[in-house]
């Protein structure tokens, strides 16, 4: 419950990003504010402050006032906290969306392969093998680098290079075998069970058996996988965005904000630490939620684990 509460809180905060930016901070977190200034303690100070000793320019640090640069400014003079909330929206959106797509296709392919067996199973399994043969991050980075410059143009599908849809599809694709293989194994086991054999014997169509008999028995497994896939996908998105090949500027994700703060680690560490904390808390909550869902579907597992 605590995990669900924490996750809900994070999601709510991120959903309120536009309200915070426009009504509280009064800053557009997507526009550079290099020459901007704010009033702090009655004094007007530059958002990017020239060094008084030596060389250089440093963004203002955290003010700890929600109304003004709560977590300070990034190298572009933008409000880090506002970008953190917006970044969370994108990270969560990509994480959830890619998990939905991944689980949908993985379940469908796993069910078809496990149920029909033979050539169908061979084709699907080899597809999984091919994807699984590549280290997941290497494959995601390779696809991102290619699609980042040209976008995706296949038939009637045209996706622009900077679109969030690209990281969603890439991340969803690379994780399909991670869900698809367990589903296939489960369905192969189910296929030999009496109730399925009875359904086949009674003349039920394959589609009906898959829908009415197989899917309900696979769904709990997929539901347990789902929160963990969201967490995996968010981590992958953060890694890609950190490498500048995920979410593209001026859009933000927690990964891009960590990258923005990379050059400020010595002077303004909060720029990178804050989104890092966001990722840790969200992924921990999702994993705990996944455990909770598993326990709810299979209470005996908890008893076995405790014995």
């Amino acid at each position: 419950m605590m995990a669900l509460g924490l996750l809900s809180l994070i999601i709510l905060a991120c959903l309120l990003a536009p309200y915070y930016a426009s009504s509280i901070a009064h800053e557009n977190p997507f526009v550079s504010n290099v020459q901007g200034s704010i009033t702090l303690g009655g004094k007007t100070v530059s958002v990017l402050q020239p060094s008084t000793v030596g060389f250089g320019v440093t963004p203002i640090g955290p003010t700890w006032h929600f109304s003004t640069y709560f977590l300070g400014a990034d190298p572009q003079g933008r409000d880090v906290f506002a970008r953190l909330l917006y970044g969370g929206r994108d990270s969560l959106f990509i994480g959830f969306s890619s998990a939905v797509i991944c689980c949908f296709f993985a379940t469908a392919l796993g069910m078809v392969a496990g149920y029909f067996g033979g050539v169908v199973d061979w084709i699907v399994s080899r597809l999984f093998d091919i994807i699984w043969a590549f280290p997941v991050y290497l494959l995601a980075i390779s696809l991102s680098v290619i699609l980042l410059t040209s976008g995706l143009n296949v038939g009637f599908i045209h996706i622009q290079p900077g679109s969030l849809v690209l990281p969603i599809l890439i991340i969803a694709s690379v994780y399909i075998p991670y869900v698809g293989r367990p589903v296939r194994g489960l369905v192969m086991t189910l296929r030999e069970r009496e109730f399925i054999q009875a359904a086949i014997g009674s003349g039920a169509s394959d589609w009906r058996i898959l829908r009415r008999d197989v899917f309900p028995n696979v769904a709990p497994t997929v539901i347990v996988f789902f929160p963990m896939m969201v967490a995996f996908n968010m981590l992958t998105e953060s890694a890609l965005s950190f490498l500048s090949i995920g979410v593209q500027p001026p859009n933000a994700s927690w990964g891009t904000i960590i990258n923005d703060g990379l050059d400020l680690l010595y002077t303004r560490p909060w720029v990178s630490i804050a989104p890092g904390i966001g990722i840790v808390l969200t992924c921990a909550a999702l994993n705990l939620l996944g455990d909770g869902v598993r326990d709810a579907f299979d209470p005996k597992a908890k008893l076995r684990g405790g014995a």
Binding site: P50, S51, P75, P161, P250, D263, Y266
Partner: protein, 563 residues
């Protein structure tokens, strides 16, 4: 060049200009390696750069990063004197025994080649190597073959059919060991252009194609031992090198010089602070500047550079094939913001002109800004937005290409933000510095706008205006098309040629004309947004000594002492 001299009159004038303007950095003007001190020889010098500088071929590479290293690895018939300060602009004989005998009204240059010099592969340097070298310049599509070296008789034909290039203007005499260059017209900058690394003499057997990662033997104190653009570059002593002129090619101090690629500049700075490396090539990150400039003040050297950071806009594709669209960007970009992102006013100065401040021909003029004076007074967003609408390009997609190092990436993000603010749908395409410079030159990549830098090859206005904006340097479909904005205006080209001719007879009038051309280009064509003239910080490790800075090619890496 992404970084060159002969008219001694002009050289002196330029040096005086720069000196009087306080442009000389903190390095003393002591000669580098004039008195060699063997006690300081030895050790391995560790240099760091976030990315490699592209091809290692000295006749193709046009980056400061490698031109700095070529000083110790290659030699031309002439070179820029290896000393600190303003004398570093002076051309001295290198592989030639003396400066050329100029005859035939300035159309014939005769060099006598030194005897006994060998390439790093052991082969002797011959006059045939010299002729082959200059023909190879055309065969490998040298970026400036069509603007610099086509002055040699037969050069224009070589530009048209490089594969079969045979320069009738280069004749050799093996018996007298002389090479004679015949020019199609007088050229005040011919020796400057021979003194830059493009003029490095290579073995005649060097394949007539870009050698990429394969080291080409040179005659310098060092040779390239290995080069992996994804990992490192290693220079070791050239076993066949003997000093023939310490002013041209002095003996170096480190036994080995390596440059490692791939670290973040933050890590590079930390490595130098900890003594794990000796020098950082890249601009120092903004948040480390205060620390480095205060805690390690004795390890930094600051120099004002005659260089421009600028945004070339592609004049041949939408939206910047529209003058009003280009002018809109000129008005919109806040050069003071660009200066802030480079580290503040101590490290850069906003500029509005093609020619850097205090450079020959420079005229203080600022067409596009909020004010009406010659000095930059800030952006005019209202005018910019109005121009975008008037141009009919409102809402168009624009992609800006920039290097992915800290400063360029931040500058790029800022410009993208500005482009969005005036009505475009802009995105940033960050690329590794290893490929960005060639990528933005190639018209096949359809780059609309990019961020890049230009450092003088030698102090002459033509090196900015002619090199970067003339028709001859715009090559469609080539990654060596240094006229990145693709500007080709025959009437402006004719004026450039007029200015070049005037420089031979009347440098003062010639420079005045260059200044007028600068202003005319910016007013009527606006091919670039010039952002600022930078200052350079060299951050070296504690163990490094004998720092010397050439205004031509910057720090002499091979002259550094490690003990």
């Amino acid at each position: 060049m992404k970084h060159s001299f002969t008219s001694w009159v002009r050289a002196g004038a330029a040096a005086a200009l720069i000196s009087s303007a306080g442009l000389i950095g903190s390095s003393a003007a002591s000669a580098a390696g004039v008195t060699y001190q063997p006690a300081h020889a030895g050790g391995t010098l560790h240099l760091l750069a976030t990315g490699a500088g592209g091809t290692l071929d000295p006749q193709v590479n046009y980056t400061l990063q490698y031109w700095q290293l070529y000083q110790a690895t290659y030699d031309g018939l002439v070179t820029f004197q290896k000393v600190g300060g303003t004398p570093s602009f002076t051309v001295v004989p290198d592989l030639a025994t003396a400066l050329p005998v100029v005859s035939n009204g300035g159309l014939t240059y005769t060099f006598t080649l030194r005897k006994g010099i060998k390439f790093a592969n052991g082969a002797p340097v011959t006059v045939n190597d010299v002729k082959a070298t200059f023909e190879r310049l055309f065969k490998v599509s040298n970026p400036n073959a069509g603007t610099w070296y086509n002055v040699i008789k037969g050069g224009d034909a070589c530009v048209k059919t490089p594969a079969t290039c045979s320069l009738s203007g280069v004749s050799v005499n093996a018996a007298t060991n002389t090479v004679t260059f015949t020019l199609v017209h007088q050229d005040a900058e011919f020796l400057d252009q021979m003194a830059v690394p493009f003029g490095a003499i290579l073995p005649a057997s060097t394949p007539a194609k870009d050698q990429g990662s394969t080291p080409v033997p040179g005659t310098g104190a060092y040779m390239f031992k290995s080069y992996d653009p994804n990992k490192s570059l290693v220079m070791v002593r050239n076993p066949y090198f003997k000093v023939w002129s310490s002013a041209a090619q002095p003996q170096g101090y480190p036994n080995e010089i390596d440059e490692t690629f791939g670290q973040t500049v933050e890590n590079e700075v930390t490595a130098v602070e900890n003594g794990q490396a000796d020098w950082v090539f890249d601009p120092l990150p903004a948040d480390r500047l205060q620390e480095v400039s205060t805690k390690y003040a004795k390890q930094i050297n600051v120099h004002t550079l005659t260089a421009n950071w600028y945004l070339p806009m592609n004049m041949n594709i939408a939206p910047f094939n529209n003058l009003k669209a280009r002018q809109a960007v000129e008005y919109a970009v806040d050069k003071n913001a660009a200066v802030t992102l480079d580290g503040g006013t101590q490290l850069a100065t906003p500029t509005c002109t093609i020619l850097p401040a205090n450079f020959p021909g420079h005229v203080n003029n600022c067409v596009y800004n909020k004010g009406t004076g010659a000095t930059y007074a800030g952006p005019d967003l209202a005018k910019a937005k109005a121009l975008v609408k008037a141009s009919g390009t409102y809402g168009m997609k624009v992609s800006l290409v920039a290097q992915n190092d800290t400063v360029d990436y931040n500058e790029g993000q800022y410009v993208v933000s500005v482009l969005n603010a005036i009505g475009y749908k802009a995105t940033l395409k960050p690329l590794s510095q290893n490929i960005e410079f060639n990528y933005i030159q190639d018209t096949k990549n359809k780059v609309q706008i990019s961020l890049t830098q230009w450092f003088q090859d030698y102090p002459a206005a033509s090196d900015f205006i002619n090199v970067l904006l003339s028709c001859a340097n715009f090559h469609k479909g080539s990654p060596n098309s240094i006229n990145i904005s693709g500007m080709c205006v025959p009437s402006i080209d004719a004026k450039m040629q007029q200015a070049e001719k005037l420089m031979i007879t009347n440098p003062v009038a010639g420079n005045k004309l260059w200044g007028q051309i600068d202003t005319q280009i910016m007013q009527q064509y606006a091919p670039w947004v010039t952002l600022f003239n930078p200052r350079l910080i060299d951050f070296t490790s504690k163990r490094v000594g004998n720092y010397n800075f050439s205004l031509e090619f910057y720090m002499y890496v091979d002259q550094l002492w490690l003990k």
